[in-house]
Symmetry: C2
Subunit: 236 residues, 2 copies
């Protein structure tokens, strides 16, 4: 298995791997994993609030939840922001979740042509790695979402956790990511607090979100894309 890491969707080259994994630890892919593990029917992601609203309008109000933030605040009229902590089974079981996430959506868009598209976060990286190992994929691309086109520490470390478990680092980014995971594996909360996006969340008072997103392998979810931006719990 050849595992390549790309720091941001902008750095993904031409071509199509057998499997592509989108990572957005703070917080889109942590929230997706949590919602699906707790029984959400699907999570649909959008960069744009209008497109989200239009898609959500096709479903009965009681069957859906809408999540999204602008400027660090929950969008007015929405059910939640972007926090995975909202997504308890009491709230999300049986619901279709429409979620706004700029960086995560761009990543899923960039890798949509791969035959298998998954999402991973620290909370479910082991679960995703087990599935990938069980398949006969020759090439796997792990793509960080970053922040407005820039490298993000937490996405790269999560990508490194995948490389560690899959082996076969196929580019310099993969070698570096695995080494960074080794460095921080024992202190992922500190990692997320040092990361620039973690610092933004801390300023918003979201330490609980950071602590949750820093926990390794607490969620049994294999989020798999079935249509553009639509993620369901895949078969593991």
């Amino acid at each position: 298995m050849q595992v390549s890491v790309f720091h941001t969707p902008e750095l993904v080259p031409e071509g199509t791997p057998d499997c592509a994994v989108a990572v957005d630890v703070l917080r889109a892919t942590s929230t997706i994993a949590t919602a699906l593990a707790n029984g959400a029917t699907a999570v649909q992601v959008y960069a744009d609030l209008e497109a989200l609203g239009a898609a959500a309008a096709g479903y009965p109000r009681e069957d859906i939840l809408r999540g999204g933030e602008r400027g660090g605040k929950q969008v007015e009229g929405f059910d939640f922001g972007n926090s995975p902590l909202y997504c308890t089974s009491e709230r999300v079981a049986g619901k279709r979740i429409f979620m706004s996430t700029t960086n995560g959506t761009r990543t899923l868009e960039r890798i949509r042509h791969a035959p298998v598209v998954l999402t991973a976060a620290l909370v479910n990286v082991g679960f995703v790695a087990r599935y990938i190992r069980s398949q006969a994929f020759e090439t796997v691309w792990v793509v960080g979402s970053g922040w407005q086109g820039n490298f993000s520490l937490e996405d790269t470390v999560c990508a490194g956790a995948l490389v560690e478990q899959l082996g076969g680092a196929a580019n310099d980014e993969a070698v570096a990511a695995a080494a960074l995971f080794d460095t921080w594996e024992g202190d992922l909360i500190e990692l997320l607090e040092r990361a620039s996006h973690g610092q933004r969340l801390l300023k918003l008072g979201l330490l609980d979100d950071i602590v949750y997103c820093a926990a390794l392998d607490t969620v049994s979810a294999l989020p798999r894309q079935t249509a553009a931006g639509v993620l369901v719990q895949g078969m593991a």
Copy 2:
């Protein structure tokens, strides 16, 4: 001091730092440091062989040396390839060196507007760090050259050595680079052998170059850009 790292020239944002440092460990900035420390008058770098030839034609033949490779082989009629091992004081003292380097030239081009532009490699990173620490720079940008637009492990680790010595990591890339330097500081030869560009050089039989470029702080050089692509030994 705020030290930011950018993996490639393409990722450098708008704006102008007080000091910018170009890194191309394999092998342009290792060769530049070596040539200047051994008495070369200047090293002038070019992406393009024609531009190099035109510039070199303005000097008496006995005053210059031309270095460059295409497809892993020394350019016909040139004095050397890109190897720092060629640049002994017997050969380079008093000479003006015209060198072809695609990635390194692009990096220097991208940061040319900074008031102070330096180059660093593992062989002279401590020397460069001492100079930077002695100045009252508020912002320092360290820019890896990468390989055809991609992240390179060896440039990032060298950038990390600078961050370690300067403090003040100002972006996620800088935090990660410093951690990668910590990981490999004790085994830089292995690092360069694992890096994809190191593997290309190994296939060309250039292990001696790798071993030379992996040695930390063996060269006392502060290469400083005085005009576009023209590097001289600066005052430390």
